[in-house]
């Protein structure tokens, strides 16, 4: 579950690789491959470690409205997959 008020970070076992469509994420622990299909989402994920909260990481990319809602959903998916976790 994603709690937007908490600070998050990329899991240590995850490799994130830029691609033209966004990025590929590979979790070395679960051996799962995930697709991050938007450069904005990649920017948010990379910004998590420095942001005081997940919400702040979204703010930092200037995301609002429906785009922001979609990003929140995507982040929740990444949290469920263990790609990101609360720190």
């Amino acid at each position: 579950m994603l709690d937007l008020a908490l600070p998050y970070a990329l899991d240590d076992q995850v490799a994130l690789r830029p691609e033209p469509f966004g990025a590929l994420a590979y979790h070395h622990g679960s051996r799962r491959l995930l697709f991050l299909r938007s450069p904005a989402l990649v920017a948010v994920v990379r910004g998590l470690a420095e942001a005081p909260s997940a919400a702040a990481a979204l703010d930092a990319q200037g995301l609002a409205g429906r785009t922001r809602a979609a990003m929140e959903l995507a982040l929740a998916g990444l949290a469920t997959a263990g790609v990101i976790h609360a720190r």
């Binding site: 490799a15 033209p20 590929l24 590979y26 070395h28 051996r31 491959l33 697709f35």
Partner: protein, 367 residues
């Protein structure tokens, strides 16, 4: 669609196969790489380490290592150490004969490393008919050693042939008895498999049974091997596309880069890691890989409703059976391949060549 983005190619492969040596203690009748003898031009330890460093820079997530038998290379486990240190996962296939207690303990201590023990039948008779005398016993000993060393869930890797397809339940139970995962892959008419494919391949009804069996077992690993079966209806788990030169490729023991592990043939050679630009230049700008990333011509499959599901099947299977690449897979589940195969002139088949087979091939009955 994501598949379209993948078909257009990635900045680096998701994973790649690296056959580290052509040397092998076995002479399996379906060996994709016609392995046996070591090639003196094999990459040196220093060259192999440099390849790993380059793959790390490109952020290749993991490599599937095969051969030949990887453990024949004395520097193999050092190379695995180096890959893991550089953040590259390693999945290596072995026949187990050289996996002694010391190797098992060393492997068990590594992170990010998966071991696949090859076994192509649930009984000694079925397995050894394909993999050679003593190979069943050696694989079982290796499985025992990995279990004793506390490696955790290794993979039992099975090529599905006439000899193994009737025993999938037994093979699943065998894997489960070790806490291991079962991995099934498709038999391809590549390497020495070109000569045995017709004998060993599945009958149409067996293909259907395999599809149904896999459909209710999404936990069984397939390396995306059976996407041609997705033309039966619901897609099997996985990317369901031919990833050759788009998301995967093969590095052979000499550093030559081919489009996929099943097409060790000059027509599918893209370049070499020994070339000036290294692996990166081959991946990003070789003529062959650039062409493979273009939209492919569906040929005779253009009017088929199932084309979106199977994409025309496996390029290697078509090539080595003499079928046009634009057209159906020889094992097309709708039967179009069988029809096409009947029209192939045996004299026009691509020459398989001796590869690295030892001169005196053991005579193995495959029936």
């Amino acid at each position: 669609m994501l598949a379209d983005e993948l078909r257009g190619g990635l900045d680096a492969p998701i994973c790649l196969t690296w056959e580290v040596t052509y040397a092998c203690n076995l002479q399996c009748v379906h060996c994709l790489s016609s392995s046996g003898r070591r090639d003196p031009r094999e990459l040196t330890t220093a060259e192999a380490r440099a390849v790993i460093d380059e793959l790390a820079e490109l952020q290749v997530f993991y490599v599937n290592v095969g051969g030949g038998e990887p453990l024949i290379r004395r520097d193999f486990l050092d190379l695995v150490d180096h890959a893991v240190d550089r953040g590259i996962g390693v999945k290596f296939s072995t026949n187990g004969a050289l996996l002694d207690d010391a190797a098992a303990r060393r492997i068990a201590a590594l992170d990010y490393t998966d071991v696949q023990i090859s076994l192509d039948g649930a009984t000694e008779a079925d397995n050894d008919a394909v993999r050679g005398p003593g190979s069943y016993a050696a694989a079982r000993r290796a499985m025992d050693r990995l279990a004793d060393a506390g490696f955790g869930p290794f993979k039992l890797s099975v090529v599905v042939t006439k000899r193994s397809v009737g025993a999938l339940d037994e093979l699943e139970a065998l894997a489960a008895s070790y806490g291991a995962e079962l991995r099934l892959t498709r038999l391809r008419p590549s390497g020495r498999g070109a000569a045995t494919w017709r004998e060993l391949r599945l009958a149409p009804a067996q293909q259907r049974d395999l599809y149904d069996w896999l459909r209710v077992r999404p936990h069984v690993l397939t390396g995306d091997s059976f996407f041609h079966l997705s033309a039966y209806g619901e897609a099997l788990p996985g990317l369901n596309l031919c990833g050759a030169g788009r998301v995967v490729c093969l590095i052979d023991p000499l550093g030559d880069v081919y489009a996929c592990p099943f097409v060790l043939h000059p027509d599918f050679l893209a370049g070499s890691v020994r070339d000036a630009g290294g692996f990166r230049a081959v991946w990003r700008s070789s003529e062959l890989f650039t062409a493979l990333r273009e939209p492919q011509n569906p040929g005779a499959c253009a009017s088929c409703d199932a084309y979106d599901a199977c994409g025309g099947g496996c390029m290697a299977a078509k090539f080595f059976t003499g079928l046009p690449l634009a057209g159906p897979d020889p094992e097309c589940v709708l039967g179009h391949g069988e029809e096409a195969l009947r029209g192939v002139d045996a004299a026009a088949l691509p020459a398989a060549g001796p590869g690295h087979s030892r001169r005196s091939l053991p005579v193995i009955a495959v029936r």
